[in-house]
Symmetry: D2
Subunit: 365 residues, 4 copies
């Protein structure tokens, strides 16, 4: 079944394996008339590109994007936008030894059961490089949202136990440290933590937070395509994400109705909420306040330590994963979470237009 497509109107289809000729995405349903250059997309891809700091894989990829269709004289034309990133520095021989083994924490085993065949080189389709298509498409979604006054930004909320306190967030720090944390001090400690894990051939996880501002109320489609429900799918579909929260998230389970409800108030004709425990959604629709989501990211599964596993023919054995791996994928996944959020919002922004007849009439008259 075709699971490589996301969205109903603003709709992307990604493809590509880690060590195949390339990775790409087709965006269908992007409205015509948006200014778009390869550089706009490259800026996003550069944020997830490997080799940017000592905390990321040494695989050396330019990840240069080529626009193959859908743009004419610098503007989108409303037809499908096809984007291609060629793979370059793939050392498939690093992976020869895993052809016959199932790596713990990886998709090797269920892929083999499901498909009967597996491109084991670099994880094939289940590699983190799969997210290139998401990010390239997310760049375009973000451009579209920006034209409507909507901005999306994500950052690293925590690396292992090193968490940025809610009351000590500095957005200007985000691009000042290689971990994309909104607090340089915490980032420094987190960096030291990662370094120590690297020396032990171990890895860690963390939490990514994503905010969207400028959203009109009413985005999301009841019942199953609610804004928060689609965001949950979008974010959990990113490899290594094991949990997602909206607003106060799991903390609501210990709150009270009298505390958790956000009171409405009106000022100068504008309706707002006094608090935002809900994280920007009510009944699954955007409520006009800031959208807040968090994703829990597991520790990188590829570690250069011996681990117990089995061969494809079912014999017990040990594996030590070689190759060039990130000790923590959180920093590079920040832009992926941001992209998936932007894609979800872009699609719902377009879906929302046909909600009521008054607006449709204006469009056609």
């Amino acid at each position: 079944m075709s699971g490589s497509t996301f969205g109903k109107i603003f709709r992307i289809t990604t493809w590509g394996e880690s060590h195949g000729p390339g990775i790409g995405v087709v965006i269908d349903g992007c409205p015509a008339g948006i200014c778009l250059s390869e550089q706009d997309i490259q800026d996003f891809l550069d944020r997830r590109k490997p080799g940017q700091s000592k905390y990321t894989t040494k695989r050396n990829e330019a990840d240069s994007v080529e626009i193959l269709s859908g743009v004419f004289e610098g503007k989108t034309t409303g037809t499908p936008i096809s984007l291609l990133v060629r793979n370059q520095d793939h050392r498939s021989k690093d992976y020869g030894n895993i052809a016959d083994l199932f790596r713990p924490g990886h998709a090797d085993y269920p892929y083999t059961v499901k498909y009967g065949i597996r491109d084991y080189r670099g994880g094939g389709r289940s590699s983190g490089r799969e997210t290139i298509g998401r990010v390239a498409a997310g760049a375009i979604a973000s451009l579209m949202l920006r034209e409507l006054g909507i901005t999306v930004r994500a950052y690293t909320k925590a690396i292992g136990p090193h968490k940025v306190p809610d009351n000590d967030i500095h957005y200007d720090h985000i691009d000042q440290n290689s971990l994309y944390m909104p607090n340089n001090d915490v980032a420094e400690k987190a960096g030291a933590y990662i370094s120590s894990l690297m020396s032990e051939c171990d890895s860690c996880g963390g939490i990514i937070e994503c905010l969207a501002d400028g959203l009109p109320a009413g985005l999301g489609e009841p019942v199953f395509d609610k804004l928060d429900a689609l965001l949950a799918q979008a974010v959990v579909s990113i490899g290594a994400v094991k949990g997602v929260e909206i607003g106060d998230g799991f903390a609501v389970s210990e709150s009270l109705g009298s505390l958790n409800n956000d009171p409405f108030f009106s000022e100068n004709g504008v309706i707002s909420k006094k608090t935002n425990h809900s994280g920007g959604t009510l009944g699954g629709l955007s409520d006009g306040s800031r959208l807040i989501i968090r994703a829990a990211v597991k520790p990188t599964s590829s570690i250069a330590r011996p681990q117990q596993t089995v061969t494809v023919s079912g014999e017990n054995t040990e594996i030590t994963v070689k190759g060039r791996h990130d000790p923590v994928i959180v920093p590079r996944a920040v832009v992926v979470v941001e992209s998936m959020t932007a894609l979800t919002l872009a699609d719902l922004v377009l879906q929302n237009i046909s909600s009521n007849m008054e607006n449709i009439k204006k469009f056609y008259r």
Copy 2:
């Protein structure tokens, strides 16, 4: 945009408002040949029915289901199954006073912005009664799964701060207390907690856990329709759910690769995992071990205390929500989470069949 449909092959479309003539669901894509009676569905509906304990709304609904199509001589025929539950005890007059107000924590405000019109009676489409369609369909999905040896069960993991410890779970207790908790002692304390909140006109939330056993490896469709991603959408689409976790969930953010990876081992030709931190998924596909998901449920938004809000015309005011409301919706939402899990699995079980050519050939020869 049509958001009332869930699933690609095993596909449901729900409809209905709290105070309209009825609530229902159409299930299309259910395989032919499954034994199905109205009682099979009623058993599920009775688990979410109001009025079953002192902790639930006093609204008195039989919630009797009628099968309108798709079943012939006690078996499904492969054609759409239409199910209808008539609303009976709707006291719309209780809601007259909210026609002009936005209830905090509810969907009233964004619905009004989105649609320009709102069926305010009992929350209309955004009422908890909307889940009747999910549960009725979930009953059929569960029947189908059972024929394949797959079982799904959910229970209340926590009510407010009263949590059942992982090492003290008693499945046989689940149906012995009205909170559907797998520990009667915790349930008793949780019951006292709820009672005290009721006397204060307040409400609380909790956590629902859901397990699925008997899953073959390989369920889920990369990249966006991964098993965990669709479960996340399914569960977060339930009103009041603010977070979802798979396996160790948010705890992975503080774990290490060396601890979090589940080692494989082989015994008598069967491949298994020594631990199950992943909660039954690898790379977004089922890995053959138990599936574990958790949902965080917020406190009931309707509380009989004065809250600050605004009128539809934008004036600041106060509201005290009348009507008959649950002080905590967790117990009644247990079967909803179980149903959404079953629906997700049923769909992916069918999608999975066409994954590889060897199996397809067997089917056609």
Copy 3:
């Protein structure tokens, strides 16, 4: 696989068997704010209701529709609209003799192979009564289109060899004869033709033509969801339709480019075409001129003559189809073709809105 759903935004799901409790449809994605009563829908259903003339089945069905959801105080609310028509006069015993036989021209044989079980009573799901859902939904689509100045109307172009000439069409005649022909003289001859076939226990087919006026240019979504492509699916999905044409249709195969191209011209700032060989579409998009489609309808398969066939266990035998059948289904299918056209257009009208950014900006500001 779920094949009972049509449309992407304005999306319908039909259900129901000929001799089950009822027939119905859920319309999801209908914009809020459209005035809608049961009578609006009943008017459409009455046009396909049996028993209206001597040329139709004697089955006596009121086909009364009940709105179960999605309408509040006389207006659509943007939530799913569920419609129910109860079956009343089903004489299932008439069908006892076909339980073990495959009726020639009917779906009995492939249904049995596909599903392994078949509701043989009155054809079950493959009965013509299945179209009730389409027509009920088509009524709502037509209402929506009318608010945008778009009108759709269908009529009988031919019954057997009795064809209304292109240059002798009288729209005012359509409702003056029971065959819905735009020419009373041809209708009279066609009526005599049908009567003679009835006395011979035989049946005939015909051609239905459908026109849509008031369409803006640009409706349809390249490449696969072109206006004409989706209309073709919509119309051929109606039982008994064996062909579909747009504009000059099959005649274009013998035309020349110099004759078939419709020249553009401009008058008072309005761009139009001098001719309309294309039938209102260019490149699969509406071109602003009248939409013209035609459907070829086969003779009713149920005839009260002995026919050769086989039993479900594979023995050669003879069958004489009993029951109450139309000698020609064309007149009753007219409103079905009209409904499917309206549904296709309604969906594409909504899809079209998000085509370009300038319009989207207007909506959000």
Copy 4:
């Protein structure tokens, strides 16, 4: 709205403009384990490639395909297959003069209204080159079908008035003449006819017929996704197709039930039909006999004669279309019709598997 995707399980998304960097397609949902090489696809593309006879455009394109993903060691892996064909011989300057004009018979006008922007070079997305993606994907669908014993073949049934009689079809002739006609004598006359039109700067149309053999009964999904309905969409979505027929097609409108019904008979335990007026479908499902469809193709719209038209700013003018155009597109469209048929069948073959529980159980046990 995203209209560049076709199919539900075997699902393709095409992209690309006539004069952009390239054209391509992503196939998602193709089962794993099918042997696939670039040559397999190239063989199909070569049948639609320009410059193969004096009756086709002189545009010189190798149309070489590159497989970018989804194939490993010569076999499909179940992940998306991305195919790329670079454009080479695009002389965009030929099209400079149409930037400001609407070509009669082309999509220029409605594209401009819809999107506000138009890649006028070679027709952009609405060029015939768009079909490259369909044919490349169709090659893979055909390979898959062949593994199940299903074969699809199309040919030119008529060029203008030169029609191959039903009783004089020679399949071995199809590849012996450049018009892909199953009768060399008719092909010769048709060739002379085309030559005479070329000398008059005119163009003609024709009819393509497509057959599929080896189909099991039961393919197709009631109600809207019937085999014939989806074939109708598939075929009419090809530019220039103005009509489609299944089996006897429009002729059924003048037939009788007693003649048009195909009697069943049984021989050696196999159920068959004595005739095949239905063209291989009953109730919209395959009935086990040969599938027969026909498409009416209009004369090429681009003709080197002066035609009346308007400028984008609405002034009346004349246009003479330059560039390199086919006097008839029928021969090159043969493989496109065959591909769309194969794609439709491949998808329905996969959808059909989940129709009944007995088969599903076999798969999982």
